[in-house]
Structure formats: C-alpha cells, structure tokens
Symmetry: C2
Subunit: 104 residues, 2 copies
Amino acid sequence: MAHDHTLCPRFENAFNLLGKRWNGLIIRVLMNGPQRFKEISDLIPGMSDRMLAERFKELEAAGILIRRVYPETPVRIEYELTEKGHALEPIMDAVQTWAEKWVE
Amino acid sequence: MAHDHTLCPRFENAFNLLGKRWNGLIIRVLMNGPQRFKEISDLIPGMSDRMLAERFKELEAAGILIRRVYPETPVRIEYELTEKGHALEPIMDAVQTWAEKWVE
DNA sequence: GTTCGTGACTTACTTTTAGTTAGTCACTAA
DNA sequence: TTAGTGACTAACTAAAAGTAAGTCACGAAC
C-alpha cells in the first residue's frame, strides 16, 4: 500500500461542527457581537426556532458560545462567542472571500 | 429597528456546501491530488459508499470537482478538484489551524 | 380585567437525509 | 469455476431537520 494521507482527527472533529447545517451561519452572525435569540433567528432565513435552540445547546456544549442571562424585566438573554468561538473568524473570512469570488 | 447585519447570500450559499456532512472531509482529501473512489472512501472513516457517491454528484454539479474516466483495463476513475475546488484551500488551512489550537 | 403581543423557548408530528446491508456489472487472477 | 476488486445502485431503517402549534412570564392596550 502507498502512503496514506490520512485525515487529522482534529480536522475531522472541527468539521463535525462546521459541517452541520446552520452552525456556520450562527457563528457568522455572532461575530458581530452578542445577540439575542430573536435577533439571530431573524437574521438567518429559513431556520426555525427549534433548530436554533437545539444548535445553541450544542454550540454551548462545544465551548463555542455562552448564554448570558440578564435579570432585567423583561429578562434579556444573549448569546456570545467564547474565545474559542471568536478564533473561528479567519475561517469565516476565508469562506467570505471564496464566496465572493466563486459563488453565483 | 436597528441596522441589520444581514447575511451575505453568497456566504449562505457557500455554507450550504461546506455545512453539509462529509463535504469538508472529501474536499480536504482531494487537496492532495486526484484520487479514486475507493481511496477516498478508505480515507474517510465512517462514511459509506452510498454517501460518497451521492456527494460526488452534488460536488460535481456545484463545480467543485470533476470525474475523470481513464479507459484502461480495468477502467480507472478519478475525482479531481476544479479551480473552484482548489480555491477552497485557504478555508481548509484555516480550519486545520483552528483545530490544532482548539480541538481536543 | 380580559385579550393581545413579545421573547425564548418546548412538544408533537411529518418529511427529508443519512446509515446499513446487500446486490450488480465488468472485468482479472487463481 | 470460483473468488476478488472497483465503482457504484437498491432497498430498507434510523436519525436529523422541517412545520405548526403551544407554553409561560410578563407588560401594554382596550
């Protein structure tokens, strides 16, 4: 057998996150700073609230974002990228660059 | 209503591709040059042949790769990135960099 | 003081997508 | 003649996503 350019397991793991529907868009939207549930929902056309709630839980568990509760009246809840989440910015930028050149 | 940082439709479109399971890994593997069905299949653990065949069709339709048939005996079929596909390299590199720093 | 609206979800149900197993077809080697 | 390989395809089941409606706490409007 020849040499195998086997996949890096960290790379695979990264694409388990990014390669899941909506995650890229959610992260992209949060790059503009913390936002509330409804704001994000409004910015991503086609995504249902159910999906957004589900993704938030996964992304929080993965350490990409945090959920902050401000106990005002009415209560305000914001979602914000962690350092790990912000570190995805170069990826988002690269996608944007590619998309501008090659999409449509 | 405040300003809306609405999503760029090209970006959205790009993530329709990258945000689909297996696509990132398939593209990553093809960055190392043209490869055959079975080689790619062997390099991506957990992905079935059915999925690979389906993804190839989609990625070919999206202009990311081409299917080349070499009429030898036995016939040899290779999948190769197009220019558009190769242009995804900075994204793959950015994912790799992020993964090395933040995954596991 | 009851309905109306908003924000952040949850539940129940349907459809779509993915995973699993087996099969096909054209060869070639034993 | 049988077994194996490469590149798929078909049939079926399981998991994920989509859709619609509901909940709960509140505050404002009629």
